[in-house]
Symmetry: C2
Subunit: 398 residues, 2 copies
């Protein structure tokens, strides 16, 4: 067994190994891009808006023509024409002229402001303007929103509705994204059942939980199901995973003997980088590289496996796709004292009570009770005296 | 034009109409269920755990045999056998006996506790126990986590990693879910371009933004692209949408004339339920039913269309899929005073500053600037004097 290292050291080791892995990219239609991760910076290829336009319904004018206009003394402007939506006006405004225009319409050459229709009256080809405007009033200039050449979306951005709206407004219709990393998920254990359990068996949770976690961070899960603690079967599944996926997760092997078997198998296919992380739960975590692909050995207990996924597997995905770190989303006070566990970082599922305080959930109460009630989890740092009631604590969302 | 109604009235009207729409359901493999919405309550078909089991590595015992055992006076127990993982022990413990067992192993009949291996020594078929245990110690009983027949997941639950973990642990391998509602998304406007813009044209944003918003709330978008403000073309697209989808969104028609055209077209195909909602932006919102399907007329401005999506279209989806309401996710103080807009609820995009306070973003600064910077949006209630700096304000996340 290698020496136990800290989670920070483990994360650094994972990131370091992933630097050598080259992510694949592809180009997808913007309509299919939600949830995907940009593989390149997107730079504006055009100004937005692309032309000077009005922000009101009314008349395009030369502001100077309206100076001093008021209710008693309106400015009288000849109507030179209509601006049609979506078209460049074919005419130019001269002093003394105006043009009918709707919100978003392109200003005719010569115009430098717009008058709201509410401040006008029209009569026989003449528009009376009852309120003067300053140059630039009621219009936006070309490039006011975005200047051509500015970077608008960065590599590593996960595309949500807002980001897709931004890209659409820039005229982008297809985007370079990372291919979704494929994560093979294998459960091991003589006790695992798949739906139909005999006495003494328990349901395989990890192949479902970890597959869902993989999909939640932008990957495609390749579920390999559950196999007994049998060397030949685990080897066959690992080979299948290495062929079909970019990363392999093997969970289970809770007894010391089986853990060593996973390490041993990984050594047969590649290198073991660490075995043992100073975190609770999650201590027996294994990480190595085989066939140039990362392989994780995760604990068999579903919550422990999930924590290691969020804290270490997610680091590998993040490094590959240039994602921002998976940070706690909120800071909330603790509802009770939480004792420390010297020497290992400890992770605890919590729920938020009616006062917004965090209540730790004890895993002893059962996997489902915890998973169904937890809003997230917290970290108790190593070598502390524990956390005090009321202490502001970072909450990772489940 | 129908009378302008409040947003609450509009939402109630939408929900009322949706009660008559029957959602379609399907059964999917649990591995494919992430992000889907349960169409039925899921009740536990088995106890979890399914048998009494240990929570430690060590020996299954009769607690009474260990009473009074200590470092000086160990209890001596005959080793009756080994419990194999995943199997029901074939033997029964009698008083004076114990059985080797690993964490999660099934207790043999007769046993009522487990002793940790750290508190024992083994010698020639005999186990010395140096610390007594009470009945029930270091074991969990059948059904401690979940009792058969209890409801574990409710209809309308969106399945994330935790929920999938819960279902897996219950032995569920396929789940009844709602079919994803199909939402057809049409943009209208003579000024709209699709990627390659002529002078005077602007990029179509809404078919992308609203499609992404539809996918984000568990629907499948059916993008219909952009058409000019032409009655025949809008009618053709509406017919296509009604055929291909469960709901149709028509955005655009910013001028009074086109708005009336959309209302008029909707009347031709069905009933207009409301036209005009006392919200800013979003006032010209139209809602009706055609061919038994909801049809929304949304404003052309992307942010306005997005607000109406979140506040009214999402209500229709929520009613159909039994989703919980789309609530603000946090409460944060305002960084500045925000003036009121008497008579209409007002919605404003905001970003969170470095102190966690909300800063309103002015839509005048441009669509992209707002979409790229906003973390969410807030609501200023009708008929208030505005919101004060420091006031705790609900934040809807974008």
């Amino acid at each position: 067994m290698l020496q136990v290292i800290t989670r920070a050291q483990a994360a650094a080791c994972v990131r370091e190994q992933m630097k050598a892995v080259v992510p694949r990219t592809e180009t997808v239609d913007l309509h299919r891009a939600a949830g995907r991760v940009l593989a390149e910076d997107i730079t504006a290829m055009l100004d937005v808006p692309g032309f000077d336009r009005t922000t009101v319904d009314g008349y395009a004018v030369l502001a100077a023509d309206t100076f001093g206009a008021g209710a008693a003394v309106p400015a009288e402007l000849e109507i030179a024409g209509d601006v049609r939506m979506g078209e460049a006006p074919s005419f130019r405004l001269r002093s003394g002229q105006c043009a009918r225009i709707a919100t978003g319409g392109m200003l005719p050459a010569g115009a430098d402001a717009a008058v709201m229709v509410e401040h006008t009256e029209e009569d026989a080809g003449v528009c009376l303007v009852f309120q003067g405007v300053a140059p630039g009033e009621n219009i936006t200039r070309r490039g006011d929103d975005v200047k051509v050449g500015s970077t608008k979306q960065q590599k590593g951005t996960t595309l949500g509705s807002s980001q897709i709206g931004v890209l659409a407004a820039l005229g982008v219709r297809s985007v370079p994204v990372f291919q979704k990393p494929r994560i093979a998920v294998l459960s091991t254990g003589d006790e695992l059942a798949n739906g139909d359990a005999q006495p003494g068996q328990v349901q395989d949770v990890n192949s479902f939980l970890l597959s869902a976690a993989a999909e939640a961070c932008g990957c495609t899960a390749v579920p390999l199901g559950a196999v007994p603690d049998d060397r030949a079967k685990i080897c066959a599944a690992l080979e299948q995973g290495l062929q079909a996926a970019d990363m392999v997760l093997i969970s289970g092997g809770s007894s010391a003997g089986t853990r060593d078997m996973t390490v041993d198998i990984l050594r047969q296919y590649g290198d073991v980088l660490f075995h043992g992380v100073a975190m609770k739960p999650g201590k027996p975590t294994i990480f190595g590289m085989a066939a140039g692909k990362p392989v994780f050995g995760l604990p068999g207990h579903p919550l422990a496996a999930y924590f290691v996924f969020r804290l270490l597997v997610r680091e590998a995905v993040g490094e590959l796709l240039c994602l921002p770190p998976d940070r706690p989303l909120a800071v909330r006070p603790l509802a009770v004292n939480v004792p420390s566990n010297h020497g290992r970082e400890e992770f605890l599922c919590v729920r938020t009570d009616e006062n917004g305080c965090l209540v730790p959930l004890h895993t002893k109460s059962g996997i489902i009770s915890v998973l169904a009630k937890a809003d997230g989890f917290i970290c108790i740092p190593r070598d502390t005296e524990g956390l005090q009631k009321g202490e502001e604590t970072e909450l990772y969302l489940l």
